[in-house]
């Protein structure tokens, strides 16, 4: 198991509930240990197991919830 940390820039959130929804959906994915989205900073921090889940899966999960995500440097 190899835990990696990923920072995503999120756009399209209109309230803190959106941030909660993103976290809820991400944490339902197998391989994600924690997801923390900040509404104010528009950033989502994800800890995930590289062997179980890919970055693309994470981004597509956020998009499925209804927001745009892109890896931030």
């Amino acid at each position: 198991m190899k835990i990696k940390n990923l920072k995503l820039k999120i756009s399209g959130m209109h309230c803190s509930s959106c941030a909660m929804n993103i976290d809820f959906d991400l944490e339902d994915l197998d391989g994600i240990t924690s997801a923390k989205t900040s509404y104010a900073k528009e950033v989502c921090e994800v800890d995930f197991d590289e062997e179980k889940v890919k970055v693309e899966d994470i981004i597509s999960s956020v998009e499925k919830t209804g927001y745009k995500a892109s890896p931030s440097l």
């Binding site: 209109h14 509930s17 976290d23 809820f24 944490e27 104010a40």
Partner: protein
């Protein structure tokens, strides 16, 4: 206090911010129940009962919380100045939230306090529970995940400095959010993003109105010379004078007046007195459960919290002509003593 505006704020914002996350949680807990019931073979495919249970406990818990907030406000608001400052701060907060809804600048995003992670996780876990009481418990727990607007309403409830008023504010707000919960899927998918943005704008305007009213009330209660009342009355004076009418013809001049304190303000709210001789005013509180019962005359330093059916008499001698404003502690209900 205009409870209709609060109801409308609940109705518009409830379609979005509250519903966005709570609707999802509710759907999740209903789905968990259905799974269980399908296994047991008793599923009736009826989400109305869990939805009602969810909304009922939510309403009860928020109303009780509003009562506590109002009581808390009345404790720390014992000093009139603290209460005015709180009301002013609540008004500013509502405006910040409104500016955020209007997307004025990303800085206003920080006005929205996000609930801590451990709480949101706990609530999420509850939503996966198959327990019969899970929907009701979930409804009660949503108190821990307030959206920005809910926080603004809570600030307003504190600044009302009255437990009944606080309960009314929170209860009305949550009641306003309920209708949309019954149309969750239908609404969000049919009306789409465009509608959502419009809804947010309506909510923002209502919040702006509430915020400005709150600040204006704080100004009036403080006796600050510039507020909507003094601005409006200076307009009135100049037009009446232009028309050459007699200015104070409506109210008879009397040095003794009885003012009734009702749930929705003061009656009469305009009296005329002569300067130089003592004025006696008798206040009679009827069913004064609103903030009208907290009677103030900022410029004379008169402050009295009336109990229902209480009467209170006070005297003063006005030395110069002009207007003396009387108001409730929040500056929501006002009246004028015209000194001639």
């Amino acid at each position: 206090m205009n409870l209709w505006v609060i109801f409308l704020t609940g109705l518009t914002i409830g379609g979005l911010t509250c519903l966005a996350v709570q609707g999802g949680l509710l759907a999740s807990v209903i789905a968990s129940r259905e799974e269980e019931e399908i296994e047991e073979g008793v599923n009736k495919k009826n989400p109305v009962f869990p939805t009602l249970a969810f909304l009922t406990t939510k309403l009860i818990v928020y109303t009780a919380f509003g009562f506590l907030l109002g009581a808390f406000g009345s404790v720390i608001g014992i000093s009139q100045n603290t209460q005015i400052i709180m009301q002013f701060a609540a008004g500013i907060y509502m405006i910040l939230i409104a500016l955020n809804l209007l997307n004025v600048h990303p800085i206003f995003r920080y006005a929205v306090i996000q609930p801590p992670k451990f709480l949101t996780r706990k609530i999420r876990n509850k939503s996966k529970s198959k327990d019969l009481f899970a929907p009701a418990l979930l409804g009660a727990m949503t108190i821990f995940i307030p959206c920005g607007t809910t926080l603004a309403m809570e600030a307003l409830a504190i600044s009302s400095a009255n437990p009944f008023m606080g309960a009314a504010i929170m209860g009305t707000f949550v009641l306003g959010t309920t209708p949309l919960f019954f149309g969750v899927g239908w609404l969000t998918s049919t009306l789409g993003d465009n509608f959502r943005t419009k809804f947010l704008k309506i909510a923002a305007v209502l919040l702006l109105y509430l915020g400005l009213t709150s600040i204006n009330g704080a100004f009036i209660a403080f006796g600050f010379p510039i507020n909507s009342q003094t601005i409006a009355s200076s307009f009135k004076t100049s037009t009446v004078q232009q028309n050459g009418e007699k200015l104070y013809s409506e109210a008879p001049v009397s040095q003794g007046a009885e003012i009734f304190v009702n749930a929705n303000g003061y009656s009469p709210n305009y009296i005329t007195v002569k300067k130089g001789s003592p004025v006696t005013i008798k206040l009679t509180a009827k069913n004064a459960y609103s903030c009208a019962s907290a009677f103030r005359i900022p410029s004379l330093g008169i402050s009295r919290n009336l109990q229902p059916n209480e009467t209170y008499t006070f005297s003063f001698t006005p030395e110069e002509a002009g207007r003396i404003t009387f108001t409730c502690s929040m500056g929501m209900y006002t009246g004028t003593i015209e000194v001639i």
